[in-house]
Symmetry: C2
Subunit: 476 residues, 2 copies
């Protein structure tokens, strides 16, 4: 791969992009130059541009290719792996103002949106047509569809309804290389429910973290709104491993809740201290299930989930009959991450293991935290085997930070040993590149590199991310 080395100045870029409102103010640049992965390295951008049209994205990419300026696309910057962090001398391409909902087509249950549309805004807009866009990362009130597509975002209801890739039918991208001169706008995919014409480039772009091109429009599949309000089932457990066993039992019994979430005591206490939602923090772990099968079958399924919790040894397990209480419980889940951030810098883990390994992985989390003397709070999309151990360090404590980094690496190794993956939904970005090297055989890494080189021969798009300039991703 040829690496882009920028020898350009801001003046060159400004000349190439007149009237673009190029941002060079250091404070604004600093804010736009990173996402929420606090521990990931951040480079110094040359400038930033808030794109107002796909055409402007196209011109910016063309100019950057001419000048050898790397392009780092970003949305709301809520990513947790450093995928949107600036690299030295890059143009940060902020797509958050490209936020029009272009079309909602109820007849075909699809929406066409620009990448800067916020996930929850899309949900609200389609709800007016009796439709539903399921992917619901905890960042849904802030994160954008473009960012969700870039990371193939998951969320709470993946267990039953899948992840972002399952909803992307097509997209418009700005690319370079085989598709045409850098800056070429192309349409991938389709508007139909099914389609198998050629290689699935749409699916390839989903989760590629902006390294293959810039997404300027997305065509999304929608579902009909759910008929009944989901039922909430809560279970309280004397330990993490016991809660993990309950998750395994729910799966083994063929129950498929829409969501099956785990929060440990640290999370519950942090939320309670902050928001006073009235969540009982006395147990060591809580499981929260959401069941949405319609009618009486849904009621029966909710009871069956509660029974599975009990049979696995829950201290107590009940279906919440109070919608206010149910909402408070899910609010606690969504607020867990910001609540913990108030305690100090958080290093967010995002491993995924086979569901049957959830109890073992939760045991490993406890053991690794103890061994390194690191406070670990765990939230998990437990029904998917997707765990987020959150490593909390006192601000400014270098030794604690080093210990947390060591624990982070051990968590990855433990997940891989259990047949898992280093990232369930946050993406590789910068934080998981080493983990990905452990996960993938060298030949697969070389295939990844070959795809990147084929579709971005200049290495212009978000260099260093995912496979990046990592020497392990060269041919064996």
């Amino acid at each position: 791969m040829r690496c882009v080395i920028s020898l350009s100045t801001i003046d060159d870029l400004a000349k190439a992009l007149p009237d673009s409102g190029l941002i060079t103010d250091p404070d604004v640049l600093a804010g736009l130059g990173h996402d929420e992965a606090e521990w990931a390295p951040v480079g110094a951008p040359l400038a930033a541009l808030r794109a107002r049209s796909a055409d402007e994205v196209s011109r910016a990419v063309a100019a950057c290719a001419d000048l050898g300026v790397p392009v780092v696309p970003r949305g709301a910057g809520t990513g947790l792996s450093g995928g949107a962090n600036a690299v030295d001398g890059c143009l940060v391409l902020d797509l958050s103002k490209l936020n029009a909902i272009v079309e909602i087509d109820p007849e075909n249950m699809l929406a066409v949106v620009q990448p800067g549309v916020v996930n929850d805004d899309l949900k609200a807009a389609v709800a007016e047509h009796g439709l539903w866009y399921p992917p619901d990362p905890a960042s849904a009130p802030w994160s954008t569809i473009g960012g969700n597509v870039a990371t193939n975002a998951g969320g709470l209801c993946c267990l039953k309804y899948g992840v972002t890739r399952d909803y992307v039918l097509g997209m418009e991208v700005v690319v370079g290389g085989p598709g045409g001169e850098y800056g070429t706008r192309l349409r991938l995919g389709r508007r139909t429910t099914k389609g198998v014409a050629g290689y699935d480039l749409t699916g390839l772009f989903v989760g590629s973290e902006g390294t293959l091109g810039v997404v300027t429009e997305v065509t999304l599949r929608l579902r009909p709104a759910r008929r009944d309000a989901p039922r909430t089932v809560v279970g309280s457990f004397s330990g993490l491993v016991e809660a993990g066993r309950a998750v395994a039992l729910v799966t083994a019994r063929g129950l498929v809740p829409a969501a099956l979430e785990l929060l440990d005591r640290t999370c519950l206490e942090a939320v309670e201290d902050w928001k006073h939602l009235g969540v009982d923090p006395s147990a060591e772990a809580m499981l929260l299930a959401s069941v949405d099968s319609p009618g009486a079958a849904g009621d029966e399924e909710a009871e069956a989930v509660a029974a599975a919790f009990r049979d696995a040894g829950a201290l107590w397990a009940e279906r919440s009959s109070d919608p206010v209480e149910a909402e408070a419980l899910f609010s606690a889940r969504r607020l867990a991450y910001p609540a913990l951030e108030r305690l100090g810098p958080v290093l967010t883990e995002d491993v995924c293991v086979p569901r049957s390994a959830v109890p073992a992985m939760l045991g490993k989390v406890e053991e690794i935290g103890r061994r390194h003397g690191v406070g670990i709070a765990t939230i998990a999309h437990a029904g998917d085997g997707n765990l987020h151990p959150l490593l909390i360090t006192p601000p400014g404590d270098a030794a604690a930070r080093a210990a947390a980094q060591a624990a982070f690496d051990d968590l990855i190794a433990a997940a891989l040993a259990l047949g898992g993956t280093v990232t369930g939904e946050h993406g590789i970005g910068l934080l998981k590149r080493a983990g990905m090297q452990q996960e993938m055989p060298v030949g697969v890494r070389a295939m990844q590199r070959a795809v990147k080189d084929a579709l971005d021969p200049l290495g212009l798009f978000n260099p260093g991310k995912v496979i990046g300039a990592d020497p392990a991703f060269t041919r064996p």
Copy 2:
């Protein structure tokens, strides 16, 4: 792309692959050299090999790379686009004997299978564990998982449960190029429910029709078996377009049957003549819906589907209360294709349009059949907008064949004009390459070509298929 030109003889291949039981008998070779796309061109293979292990696949690919012999993988040969048709001088790599179910893991709801496992055999095996593998192409009693993966096969229940790609978590492939020497075995993907490490090579291989490598093992996601037997709703219509309107109305009302199939009068009569299932062939079109929401909600949904049929102008619409009758109706659907084949060579169309365009597309089918004087019978996964107009020609009638080809091309053009795609589920193979050129902008075709060249630099795997050696798939 460098094209493989075989200058090798059978002796060279036999020497390179001792004890492999290389097949050179012309009659057997002729049978193994094509799939069911009768109208697609067929080349003369050098030999065929029935692989008995992944290791044997690996050795065969390595030998073919050394000798410059193209590799054409095949399963049961039930494909309808010529994707498994031999090219001149190739080795046909028959994977149908690689048919072990390696593992069924009920705790994690997944199965690991070799590519030669027949779809229905997998369904039966996982059913014993209370599990379900949903993808159900009409060929399910004969077609293999490897072929289903190669074409990203759909089927009847895609409407609610998705297509093959939605169930493939990982695979073992034999590749060459960046992944290592030709013949290298690599594992793509994962065993976890979620995972976003790197580019989705697994998804890229699904639907690639054997052009990127040979799949030797597949890890599949399963679902819990359905709680209740699906309810069947039947509607009879005075015309195709009326039936299409009913399909659109079902969607518009937010109803999601597991299947929503359309058969026209020709199909119904052909099945009745052959099998005497007692299907009433008096109507011009029949819609068949299968509803599987659990409990009373499923009953209500079935009634709502019947009501939508009636509101759209059905002659009659009823929920079938007799399971024997319901099974007979779906048997009629599954038997439609073989029943029509008894009438003469069938050219199978496989277009997919946005659901709202189903009535318009059905109108186009009638108009095109009339205009070209071609008998067209239509079956359709109507709820997905996926239509299979079947063009029937009297055997040996060259003029009728030419008319059918012209009608075939017009159907493709009509589907594209309605915002559709040239193939919903059968794949490009050989029959749809020209259509794909119409569907995709030249830049996207060049990106497709770049991916193929990057991952199969020798052009060894199934050359000429999908993007093939087609000059339109070169850089613009």
